[in-house]
Symmetry: C2
Subunit: 199 residues, 2 copies
Amino acid sequence: MAFELEVERERLIPDTSVFTNPDVYREFGNSPNEAFANFLELVAKAPNVKVYMPSSVYDELKKMLKNPKIPPKARAVFRVKSPKKYEIQIPAFLLYELIDDIRQRINKGLRVAEEAVRASAHKSPDEILNALRRKYREALREGIVDSKEDIELILLALELDGLLLSADRGILNLADKMGIRWIPPEEIRDTIEGLIYSP
Amino acid sequence: MAFELEVERERLIPDTSVFTNPDVYREFGNSPNEAFANFLELVAKAPNVKVYMPSSVYDELKKMLKNPKIPPKARAVFRVKSPKKYEIQIPAFLLYELIDDIRQRINKGLRVAEEAVRASAHKSPDEILNALRRKYREALREGIVDSKEDIELILLALELDGLLLSADRGILNLADKMGIRWIPPEEIRDTIEGLIYSP
């Protein structure tokens, strides 16, 4: 057989949530560490499929999983690579949507804080503070990308024309707006098996 | 004289703050309306200089100034035009900086809200709520672009390679990061006079 240049047929870009969210990792193993190893071994069976992860996301994963092991058979499929963030360009209208979304969340956050102050007359401070933190977090954080790692995942998927795997609604929403391919968490296993059986 | 194609030598892109912030508009007139008219008349004396304004910003200005008049002599220099937001691309690293900045502000907003709840034990609700609104606003809004109009100004300056005129620190910060030309409010008048006297 002559030397063949490998063409990457698919590039999977998983978020940490795939290995830390119990609803997702249980498809692959009984613990996050086992799930990570099994996920990579499964991908290794699919011809010309690679897994890419930005270094910031891999660092996060290593912290969460303590000592994640990459099985020797799967070494060649796992690639740590950050997006070329100083080269990539994104459409300006995304900035509008983001600013608009954040503005509404900021207003909602103030209403949550005002409610907490008004409730202080007839509840204990600890009770108030706990409810405040929860509601404020919901108002300002949920369903929106809110970290450097989230942005790196999305930009890497954009740069590589990869398939984004995540259980995070904020990440998937933004990815969808940008025309990035993604699948919901419950379809991850079937998707990889599809890549194995129909090469 | 043969027909000459007009080359635009400079494009000025003023924010509403130029006509509504007393420290700035007093350079041009005693009231916002007078300042707006005088600003345009001054620009009209400079050869091949135009003033561009996104329609959203002009709408805002019309609301603030009630019935702003464009002097007949200056009609030809004032152009309402929004940026091509579905075509313009911006560098992805800006998204990182924005998300990072907002994340820090969101954390600060929560601390402001917690303080307000703790202070509720020994102050009147009205006093607490007023301080909360002021501090929350400072934490989440000041020094950052926080409206569609702000973004339109910046993108229009980018698209037209224009000179941004504003008294808003958030707008100027972002413009500077993007390599857009801008001048501080106190140099606006001198800059226009410079364009008149050295054509």
